[in-house]
C-alpha cells in the first residue's frame, strides 16, 4: 500500500484513509459534491515527505477526483456549448458558474445559521389556510319558478299498479281435464274457439295443456296454415 493510499483524512463528509475515500466515491456511496478536495490537498501538503513518486501519484489521483467532481457539477443532459467558446471564454463561464454556486452555498449556510439562532422561536402553525372571503352573489331568481318546482314535488304521485301481484296461473291439469272431457263428448274441437273467452295467461296455460296431450299421444292437432285455427281431435277416434 502506498503512502498516498494511507493518507489520513479528516473532512466534514469523511474521515479515514484516502484509498477508502476513493472506494466510497467510486461506489457512489459518498457524494463527491460533499467532499472538499482542497482539504485533501491541504492534508497532503501537511504530511508530504520528499518522495517525488508519491507527489506524482497524488497529483494524478487528485486531478482525477477534480475531473470527476467537475463532471458531476454539469449534468450530461444539459447542452453546454463549450465547444463554441474559446478557452478563455470557457474558463470564464466555468468560473462564473462555480462562483454562482458558491454564493448559493453561502446563502444556504446563512439560512442554516439563521435557523440555529431562531431555534428558540416557537409559534403555532394552523392546520388550515385562511378562508377566502366568500364572494358569490346568486343570480336574481324568480319566486314563481321556485313555487313551480315545489308544486311538482308536492303533487300526489300516481298509485302504483298492483296488477302483476294478483296475476295467478291456473294449473295445467285443469285444462287437461277440460279438453279430455270435450273430446269424450264431441270427438273434436277448434282450440281458438274453445279458449277465446279466456285471458291471455289462461290461453297460454291452455296451449301448454294441448302440447301435453299431444306429447302423450292422446290427441292429434291440425292447422291448415300458420296463424289459422288449430283443430284438435281425439286420437283414439
Amino acid at each position: 500500500m502506498s503512502a498516498v493510499a494511507e493518507l489520513p483524512l479528516d473532512l466534514d463528509a469523511f474521515e479515514g484513509p484516502f484509498d477508502l475515500l476513493l472506494t466510497l466515491v467510486l461506489k457512489e456511496e459518498l457524494e463527491l459534491r460533499d467532499v472538499e478536495i482542497v482539504e485533501i490537498v491541504l492534508t497532503f501538503l501537511a504530511e508530504r515527505g520528499e518522495d517525488l513518486e508519491v507527489d506524482g501519484e497524488f497529483l494524478v489521483l487528485v486531478a482525477s477526483l477534480l475531473e470527476l467532481k467537475a463532471r458531476g457539477l454539469f449534468p450530461e443532459e444539459e447542452e453546454v456549448p463549450f465547444e463554441d467558446l474559446d478557452a478563455d471564454d470557457a474558463a470564464g463561464e466555468l468560473a462564473e458558474r462555480l462562483a454562482q454556486y458558491r454564493r448559493f452555498r453561502a446563502a444556504a449556510g446563512w439560512l442554516e445559521e439563521r435557523l440555529e439562532a431562531d431555534s428558540d422561536r416557537y409559534f403555532r402553525l394552523g392546520p388550515a389556510p385562511l378562508a377566502p372571503v366568500p364572494d358569490r352573489p346568486l343570480a336574481p331568481q324568480q319566486p314563481e319558478s321556485l313555487a313551480a318546482a315545489l308544486r311538482a314535488l308536492a303533487a300526489e304521485p300516481p298509485t302504483p299498479s298492483l296488477r302483476h301481484i294478483t296475476l295467478t296461473f291456473p294449473p295445467v291439469s285443469l285444462f287437461l281435464e277440460r279438453f279430455r272431457a270435450v273430446l269424450r263428448r264431441r270427438g273434436r274441437f277448434v282450440f281458438d274457439k274453445e279458449v277465446e273467452a279466456l285471458t291471455r295467461v289462461e290461453q297460454a296455460v291452455a296451449f301448454l295443456a294441448l302440447l301435453e296431450l299431444r306429447k302423450a299421444g292422446e290427441i292429434a292437432i291440425g292447422q291448415v296454415a300458420p296463424f289459422e285455427e288449430i283443430t284438435v281431435w281425439n286420437n283414439a277416434a
Binding site: V38, E78, G109, L111, A128
Partner: protein
C-alpha cells in the same frame, strides 16, 4: 344624573382587542390589510393598535410575543419559554433540513419563481428530491409554469419567511456579500504555502 360610573371605551383599545382575537386564531401571519379587512377598520388605525399590542406583547413582559414576520404580524412564544415549548411540540418543518435542501431553498428564495432544471443548473445535481421535500414541508410551492407550458416553477412561501424569522425576502442578505469564501480559500492555501516556505 343617576351617577352611574361609565367605563370609557377607547376605540383604539377595542380595535386592539379585535386584532388580538384575529391574531390568536390566525394560522399564518396577518398583514395590516388582512387585519383591516377582517376588523372592518382603517389600516392606519390598525397600525396604531398594533403598536399598542407590540408594547404589551414583548419579550420579558409577556409569554406571548407579537412579531413582525412574513409580511405581517403573528404571535409566537417568548424565547424564555422555548425549552418548555420544545418538550411539548415537535417542529417538523425545520427539523433535519439537509445541506441539499438548504441549498435548494436558498436558490428558490433568491431566484424564485425558478424551475427544477434551473436549480439543477446552479447546484450541478438534480434537484427533484430536494424540491419535493421542500414542497412537502411547505417551505416552497408551485408558482405556475415557464412560458408555453414549460417546467413547473417554484417560489418560497410565507411559511419559509416565518420559519426563518424574516419580515420578507428583502431581508435576505445580498448574495455578493455572502461570497467571501473564495478569498478565505486563497488565504488558507497561502497559509500552507507560507508554512512550507518557512
Amino acid at each position: 344624573m343617576s351617577g352611574t360610573l361609565r367605563l370609557i371605551d377607547n376605540p383604539v383599545d377595542r380595535l386592539a382587542r379585535t386584532i388580538e382575537a384575529l391574531l390568536v386564531i390566525a394560522p399564518a401571519a396577518l398583514s395590516v390589510e388582512d387585519l383591516a379587512a377582517a376588523a372592518e377598520d382603517d389600516p392606519e388605525r390598525v397600525e396604531t393598535a398594533l403598536g399598542l399590542l407590540a408594547s404589551r406583547y414583548r419579550e420579558g413582559r409577556s409569554g406571548i410575543v407579537l412579531e413582525q414576520v412574513a409580511g405581517g404580524y403573528a404571535f409566537r412564544a417568548a424565547r424564555e419559554a422555548a425549552e418548555a415549548c420544545a418538550r411539548l411540540v415537535e417542529r417538523p418543518v425545520q427539523r433535519g433540513l439537509s445541506q441539499a435542501a438548504l441549498e435548494t431553498l436558498a436558490v428558490v428564495a433568491y431566484l424564485g419563481p425558478v424551475s427544477r432544471p434551473e436549480i439543477a443548473r446552479i447546484r450541478g445535481v438534480a434537484a427533484d428530491s430536494a424540491v419535493a421535500g421542500l414542497v412537502e414541508r411547505g417551505l416552497i410551492a408551485e408558482a405556475g409554469r415557464e412560458k408555453d407550458g414549460g417546467a413547473i416553477r417554484y417560489e418560497s412561501t410565507p411559511l419559509f419567511e416565518r420559519v426563518f424569522g424574516l419580515t420578507g425576502l428583502s431581508e435576505l442578505p445580498r448574495l455578493d456579500d455572502l461570497a467571501e469564501t473564495e478569498q478565505g480559500l486563497r488565504e488558507r492555501l497561502e497559509e500552507v504555502a507560507g508554512r512550507r516556505g518557512a
